[in-house]
Symmetry: C2
Subunit: 225 residues, 2 copies
Amino acid sequence: MCVTCGCGEPDIADETINLEQDILEENQRYALQNKKIFQQSRTTAFNLVASPGAGKTSLLMATGKALVKPCSVIVGDQATEYDANLLKSNGLEALQILTNKVCHLDAHMVGHALEKTVLKPDSFLFIENVGNLICPALFDLGEHFRVVLLSVTEGEDKPLKYPYIFGSADLVLLTKIDLLPHLQFNLKYCIDNIKAVNPKANIIQLSSQSKQGLQGWIDWLEKAA
Amino acid sequence: MCVTCGCGEPDIADETINLEQDILEENQRYALQNKKIFQQSRTTAFNLVASPGAGKTSLLMATGKALVKPCSVIVGDQATEYDANLLKSNGLEALQILTNKVCHLDAHMVGHALEKTVLKPDSFLFIENVGNLICPALFDLGEHFRVVLLSVTEGEDKPLKYPYIFGSADLVLLTKIDLLPHLQFNLKYCIDNIKAVNPKANIIQLSSQSKQGLQGWIDWLEKAA
């Protein structure tokens, strides 16, 4: 029944949410399987979530070059092997998941990708989620840490408008800070907004282009292992 | 059953898609009701879809000032009345829909918002969808035209990576072109990518900040009525 107004009509959004409960319980079962796989190889797994074009792939290319530990990437997109190919051509082990009409990665998809991925002992696994600030918030992939990227070109209000994803972040990366001189962007207001939905989140500002702030991210990764 | 590999396990993504079929049929019934409402007041309705922070609200503020016809806005977000308030403080009639955990507007939500919106005769209605390049592609709101915004800060590959939303666009707006001098962005490659998934789409480049290209959008709107 319609939750918006009690009009007696069936409510589409309400149905969507009810259906999601079953799906999420099933997802959790697969997430636990993934966790066991990570444990076996002592792999630390990071789930990278952001809007389309916030700079996830560019960050991973810069990260691969700066890290000492071995790392691999599982990357999700609706279509194209573009990101996996780009990462591979930059020397990273990368596997593409194509989700077609699905708007997020789920733990079952990642489980299948893990069957085809060699996790080296004491390594990092980066799971680059589909570009979307909403649906990936609901799906635990079995990761140890959730990293949410927010490009400064997107505006300061995004943490308040997408509170579930920012609220669930272990780390928020403010990306593309090399563009700050060309934007009307209030950094303090943005950080206040992140803290309003997630008082405990770590926040790092960086640019994969200029490399400014990149060392802070590498240090955080090495501490996280 | 798992569509990825035929492993015999239930597939989460497959279930999501099956469930969506019923939801979409129901949505279509509400979309037809909305279409009738638009017809009665001779309102032309535009569904604006984009990534978070691509500049939908800024564009509508600039559009409201430049248009001769009366117009109103229905705006969807997971949380905050921020956009509706911003539009109202710029003299536009605006109504906020809060979707909470839902990742898109559906025709039922818009139908309820229409009950509270006065559509002037021969007017424009802009429906600013939730920031998301995936899920809104599936939901017809009863609109006459679908307009997809792509900020040049997001990269040239997005039309190929999100083919359903770009493939369904009547018009693609390349936004924030004032930032082009500061980006490594190949405009021709981006336009080729839009055409690859949608050979018939109109494409307009603009900046709500510098007003460059804005008149092209206003002219397109006036022809669309």
